[in-house]
């Protein structure tokens, strides 16, 4: 028994007596490592000084820089623009077209005005169906995305109302009555191609990178026509005024139809609503709080810059700790 205890003590002291000596530095190896480190550092600094992307990144003052390649921006902007103009139906119920003109006749007194006409077409039941093609997108310094969106207007038909008025002038006014007629007609939007030009302005609020559409010219000249049956209705209506007292003869129904066809061919300017394009946030943003060490830290964020350079959108923000973290919750215990 004494021998066993003695053996245990000897073994224990052998174990306990061998406390670890800390690792020792080899001065020659450290010198080699340091020399290598300085040489590599020098080469890296020289190479990065020649790299335009690194130079661009270092030009920003903020503590967080977000850089997005132009290819991705263009793809995103193209998709957004296409989404807004593709398979969209524009309600034209409050759109109207109008025109007016004078009718002159040669008389022994020379050419005199015998009357004037006016026409108004209300597209009460017509819609415009748009389909967007592949947009052309390009970045433009300092902060714009230029967009050129081909838009196909598809053929649609719907109800419209035609108002036609005749106002006799001069001598004709003595013998002829004025007239106004209103007819329900069936109109159609002709298939046609347009290009909508605009841009998206990029902005950096600090937390959000946004793209706001700028489309100053949202007008589309919509070419219209009437169905054959409706032209027949219009012609019939004009001819019905071709009596001695209403002086339709002076006005001439064929001439009235010509006016109306010219009006349809000229088209109707339809302005797309401003709201068709909305501001969109890009998919990278900064947060005003983060979790560190299981605690929430509030941050103050200030947008510093935004620019397009080297086919890249660069934005930066200064981030500083605003509020101290909440008290630490009970830390988890290590597993045994």
């Amino acid at each position: 028994m004494r021998a066993a205890v003695l053996a245990f003590i000897v073994a224990s002291s052998a174990f306990s007596g061998c406390s670890t000596s800390p690792p020792r530095e080899d001065p020659r190896r450290m010198a080699d490592l340091e020399q290598n480190y300085h040489a590599l550092h020098k080469r890296l600094e020289a190479a990065t000084a020649r790299d335009p992307l690194v130079t661009a990144a270092f030009a920003d003052r903020g503590s967080v820089v977000v850089a997005i390649r132009s290819d991705l921006i263009e793809e995103l902007a193209g998709n957004i623009a296409k989404r807004y103009l593709d398979n969209v139906t524009v309600d034209l119920h409050d759109v109207h077209a109008k025109s007016s003109g004078d009718v002159r006749k040669k008389t022994f007194l020379g050419e005199v005005k015998v009357g004037s006409w006016k026409v108004r077409v209300e597209l009460s039941g017509l819609v415009g169906a748009l389909r967007a093609g592949k947009p052309r997108v390009s970045l433009r310094a300092p902060n714009m995305i230029d967009l050129e969106i081909p838009v196909d207007v598809l053929e649609t038909t719907g109800d419209a109302t035609l108002h036609f008025g005749w106002d006799s002038s001069g001598l004709a006014n003595v013998v002829c009555d004025d007239f106004e007629l209103t007819r329900g007609i069936h109109g159609r939007v002709l298939p046609q191609k347009h290009t909508i030009n605009g841009a998206m302005r990029l902005a950096n609020s600090g937390t959000v990178l946004s793209a706001t559409p700028v489309f100053p010219d949202r007008k589309i000249n919509l070419r219209l026509d009437l169905t054959e049956a409706s032209w027949a209705v219009v012609e019939e209506a004009l001819r019905s005024q071709d009596t001695s007292n209403t002086c339709g003869t002076l006005m001439n129904p064929e001439q009235g139809l010509t006016f109306l066809k010219a009006l349809a061919a000229k088209g109707v300017k339809v302005r797309l609503p401003r709201s068709i394009f909305r501001t969109v946030s890009l998919p990278a943003s900064l947060r005003q709080e983060v979790t560190v060490n299981r605690r929430i830290v509030g941050l103050s964020i200030h947008g510093e810059s935004l620019r397009i350079q080297e086919r890249t959108l660069w934005s930066s923000a200064s981030v500083s700790v605003r509020t101290g973290p909440a008290p630490l919750p009970a830390a988890p215990k290590p597993s045994p």
Binding site: A7, S21, A47, D51, R83, D94, V290, V321
Partner: protein, 267 residues
Amino acid sequence: MAGSSPPRPDANPEAFLIRALRVATGVLLLLAVLVAGFVQYRRDGRAGARQTAREALLSLQNAALFQLVADAEKGTLLDFKGILIVVDQSLVQDLLTAVTPMEAEIGSGFRVNIDSVEASFGDGVALVQMTGTASVGDALVGSEVTVFGSIDAVEIDRASGILRCNVSILAVDAQNAEALGRNDPVGRLTEALAEGGLSLLLGPLEIPVRLEDALAIPAVDSKRLQITAETLPLTVNARRIKVFGGKLWAFVDAVLPAPGAGPVVRP
């Protein structure tokens, strides 16, 4: 002659027992000395092969710098395709300082207190150097320690989209290793930190950048047209990091679905 011959057990059983015990004691002593010598030999061998924290860090920095130089000289240092997030070392230091002091039982009986943190992103390694004290159990005396950690990866939290750093342990330096016990205490402390202790001490480290996995296109509701809101799915993945110039550069791939690949989500 008869006196020199070994006693037979049946001749004098008591004398035989005493002699057998002596032999056993001798064998046990010899075994104990051999074991002790072997342990000492193994320890010395291991200590000789182990690097100091400074040497380990410098070796790692050199390896990272070598790769960075190769990339930079080829012109592919910032060869990102989608999004690049650049985080200055000062921000990481401010965030960590805001939650300092840090304290945790990190496992293997060690308790670590950190009172200062320094982030340094200059040399290929996103070094997070934490200084404080380590102690064993309830001991009042411990050792001043420097824990060298590094941000070796970032990931995008799938739920929140927040960029999250993964911090790994590089090495530990202890001023007074003896105060942490015997039997390679610094090695055991390093092991405890590497095996979950650092995460107990430091917890998650988020960078205040959020990367969305979708692009929200707001609805349009005007008198002439109504367009429903749409969500354009976007696949974002943190691919890799590079560290130089006092900054951490996180490369994030962002890919839109191929045309016709799938329907656009309409909420």
